[in-house]
Symmetry: D2
Subunit: 341 residues, 4 copies
Amino acid sequence: MMIIMKSNATPKQIDHVIERIKALGLNVHLSQGVEATIIGAIGETHNINIDQFEVLDGVDFVKRITQPFKLASRQFYPEDSKYALDGFTVGGKDLLIIAGPCSVESRSQIIETAIAVKKAGANALRGGVFKPRTSPYAFQGIGEEGMEYLAEAREITGLPVVAEIMSQIQIEEMVKFVDVLQVGARSMQNFNLLRALGEIKKPILLKRGLSATIEELLMSAEYILAGGNNQVILCERGIRTFETSTRNTTDINAIPVLKNLTHLPVILDPSHSTGYSEYVGPVARAAIAAGADGLMVEVHLHPESALSDGKQSLKPEKFSEIIQQVGQIAKIIGRQIPCVQ
Amino acid sequence: MMIIMKSNATPKQIDHVIERIKALGLNVHLSQGVEATIIGAIGETHNINIDQFEVLDGVDFVKRITQPFKLASRQFYPEDSKYALDGFTVGGKDLLIIAGPCSVESRSQIIETAIAVKKAGANALRGGVFKPRTSPYAFQGIGEEGMEYLAEAREITGLPVVAEIMSQIQIEEMVKFVDVLQVGARSMQNFNLLRALGEIKKPILLKRGLSATIEELLMSAEYILAGGNNQVILCERGIRTFETSTRNTTDINAIPVLKNLTHLPVILDPSHSTGYSEYVGPVARAAIAAGADGLMVEVHLHPESALSDGKQSLKPEKFSEIIQQVGQIAKIIGRQIPCVQ
Amino acid sequence: MMIIMKSNATPKQIDHVIERIKALGLNVHLSQGVEATIIGAIGETHNINIDQFEVLDGVDFVKRITQPFKLASRQFYPEDSKYALDGFTVGGKDLLIIAGPCSVESRSQIIETAIAVKKAGANALRGGVFKPRTSPYAFQGIGEEGMEYLAEAREITGLPVVAEIMSQIQIEEMVKFVDVLQVGARSMQNFNLLRALGEIKKPILLKRGLSATIEELLMSAEYILAGGNNQVILCERGIRTFETSTRNTTDINAIPVLKNLTHLPVILDPSHSTGYSEYVGPVARAAIAAGADGLMVEVHLHPESALSDGKQSLKPEKFSEIIQQVGQIAKIIGRQIPCVQ
Amino acid sequence: MMIIMKSNATPKQIDHVIERIKALGLNVHLSQGVEATIIGAIGETHNINIDQFEVLDGVDFVKRITQPFKLASRQFYPEDSKYALDGFTVGGKDLLIIAGPCSVESRSQIIETAIAVKKAGANALRGGVFKPRTSPYAFQGIGEEGMEYLAEAREITGLPVVAEIMSQIQIEEMVKFVDVLQVGARSMQNFNLLRALGEIKKPILLKRGLSATIEELLMSAEYILAGGNNQVILCERGIRTFETSTRNTTDINAIPVLKNLTHLPVILDPSHSTGYSEYVGPVARAAIAAGADGLMVEVHLHPESALSDGKQSLKPEKFSEIIQQVGQIAKIIGRQIPCVQ
């Protein structure tokens, strides 16, 4: 960390900054230039809040040299993270393809969908049981009942299941039924939830918030990692911009940027990032071409009667076609979807 | 709600839409034009999810006539909401001036600050005890201990106290000590928390999310109102844009827009919406000039040693000066701060 | 166009709207519902400014049924536009690969680069001679001299050349030397320039503005098309958002959205849309996977001594590698780069 | 300017950076710390393009100490800029109130409006004659004829007139008729136009681009100042964000930020920054409360039949009311509108 003093900073102000650095157990390196005095703080600085230096008298600005996250950082852990999920290796050569309906609506719906997406090439099943909805009057998910159906679909197909958690109160029950706990975009900075998820032993699928920077996404991952759970999967799902022709703007840049900054696996959700089923295929192909470790796709047997997100859901046949193309693109960059020859 | 069919929609598709509307207990008004057929759905439509119509075959788009929120709407409740807060009337002629430190740091700090801000014209005290921080390594608040100090500061000054709640688990304890529960920007769409706050009897200060639209803010208020708690105060605190010279962008338009759409009181937090103490004064004046019902301002005895947000905190003397000017502006538009002559 | 009247609109207000529609030579279709009266305006409405109806008393809102652009629309012209560019067919099966330096710096630089990018698979050469720069003190391009070098590079390699035009004053001279005139992001709404370019007979490469919506991009294309020049190539080059880890945010959604809305060819510029050479490859692959008709890539022999945009420029060898991968992805979706086997 | 080298930078890389700095005529100050080597470049650095250092091998990042603009900077010129405009002093104690229609539509319209706005307190008249319109089919202004009407309105009322210029080709004619040349938001980075305006002797009203940062606005002002014309007025007119309930988002923070960074006068256009006439009053009051040096407001005798921007135009009576309130607020912060007692 470097603290750049204003050109008119007084010796007393400089001394005060130095004291503060030392009080944090850091070493000081002082450099007095013509235009500015620069004070370097050396040691473990990723957990220092730079604000506390920015407010000191005489300080112009403060610049980190090291990143504010550590456990999530590729500087700290250069190899790609890999871990087993029901026999499948997340973060390895095989792409993680999570598919299923926005919401679990009934027993037969989720079981039939699970069979269909597995056949099409998915290696995990998604299905929401607690739904975060903008309106209090909208369908809020079928709750616990849905978890039992998910567990049954898993029994039948062998697919691990992914479902969204909205509150730490739900952890105890959800871990009984669900293989991967998803933290939705609106919960990315629910820090109490993140801390609680740091203490469990299941993979966490962490979605980027609607207006979260890439650094903030990594800081939220750091909350989980710092708690001792190192099984975090990051998910780009579109950000909010001025453009209104799609539901969100897919930040495709985030894929190579994240792969550069972190060792954690990174997937993309083209259903939410576009909002329209006709754009899911092109953006799914783009994600894999850009280096993503997988996809999360909404698939519904009858999108026109879905209780939520029908507009962005694919029918199983269309999903199957897309996975075939995605699998071929994967091979060009050294990845694969096992079912695609 | 109007459903506009594509120009080539078939009679069968039109009939299907009509059936769906009737199934929701709504009446249908059909209008067959040359360019398009329009199907009106008449009745209680604010709680209808329009997505379920947008995915039907033959539908071009769906347009609400009435707003998606009801209890928060001025259409539904035309008069300004007013309610008592420790003798003070929120939403009335007097402006609500909430001031205090970002975080409660010690007993003496919060008591001294409470005395200082009261003297300067504040009629409520803020102080965070649970702090939502981007980094797991940053200061996270002093927790329950802080609530006792807040309660003591209240005892001494008579100021009602405002503190942020981060999880529904904290409700039981916080309601014992705190007068107004604040929902922070990052929790604006923590729907489990909102639902739980709908069941208590204390005012809720609901801050706008970093990338939340005005409509979404009102939908989150609707969650609380729908639960039976009608004491909601809305707070503009800056939105996230491309501009980097300030911490956030104050959406001053939100003040008149919200006053137009809702009967709920609307205040502005110029500390977070600018991020720099030198800009707090001008933006505080602007907020009141634009018609806000109050302000929430960070004040710290020693900003340079604050444990959080020092850069945007005012010293009490500066706060006092600003309140004097704000009070004079208030009078021009028919409002007042009692202490300002 | 549909004009939805407020529920309390008076018969006189309705009549006034009807008169206005008729005055524009349009037909009227009136539908009086229970919640709202809707007035349809039928005929050639793409050139009607809907604002003039929105301000009339009693009007709630106005909704277009047809798009505000016509000549650019796939509704109007369903087939993909194709046209010859020096033997190459833009918009056909072959991808358009434009490469070269940000700025023409010297005769030898542009000739050597042209030879290198051609060898690597490019089929057009880019090179700026007039440079739009944020700072008046930055390098502004070498001007006319550069055009002569571009022409010479073209002579030697056979590659058509692309250069940016900043003012209609430059047209007369530039058309002598340059094959494709590029309108930069900052000029996308320089309507005088667009109109002037509608009158020439050369292809126009129209880049999306930093905060332009997809619809606005198409409206700017419409200016050129309406003038009689139907050779327009659209270029996504990243939009401005809150994310700061890249120079811009690549809106990959724009590729399938544009291919859906318009018959015009659509390419992507991953150099500007990311701002860092290490991210150009992944995003170039993503663009083609998403269905783009080509790429525009900055290539410099010595990025570290480039007079502009060095940070986002590729060396020729790296560019060559990327084009190989891009060519393989192209084949999977039925496209090709001729040089890539 | 400071160049921070990567921790593993080699002596050769450091030497190369030093050479480059010296080649620009700057002095070097070298500081070798434990974590990083920092190279200071001392001298006239505002006109140095920092990119050229960022691409050098071994460089981590480059940080300016001084701002990239100089003539526009308050560091360079601490006093508020003031200059005469037809007897009125722009930038002084009196607020600049520019009012008039979006477009000049007829002789009688502009003359009547001029008389009305003068009576209400305006001290300058606006009226567009060349209109930048998103659609090629929309009304594009009445051109030269309009300038004659503006001149006549000026003759009658004594109000100086402001009109938008879209191309340097129009300068010669416009300077004959118009007192202040306005550069619209879409032209803020039309650098050829800015350079040409640097050579004339009339005030330039420079509006902020839809997605321009405050720094970019100042850099565009720098183009004009660097050409020798120091009569620049800056205008905040709303930026583009995700919020759709208003036409743009008024960045009220920009007022104190600009007043801090530059000596140039800063005004606000609440008509464009909100897009709705009912929000113009509150935001106009906010602008002056925040410290703006004036306003630019659209006023139309009959907004419902305006050829452009009717929705955001005020009737003269409403404008008059607003100016009364604005004038009272002005007094509280030491400013005034001469006609308001």
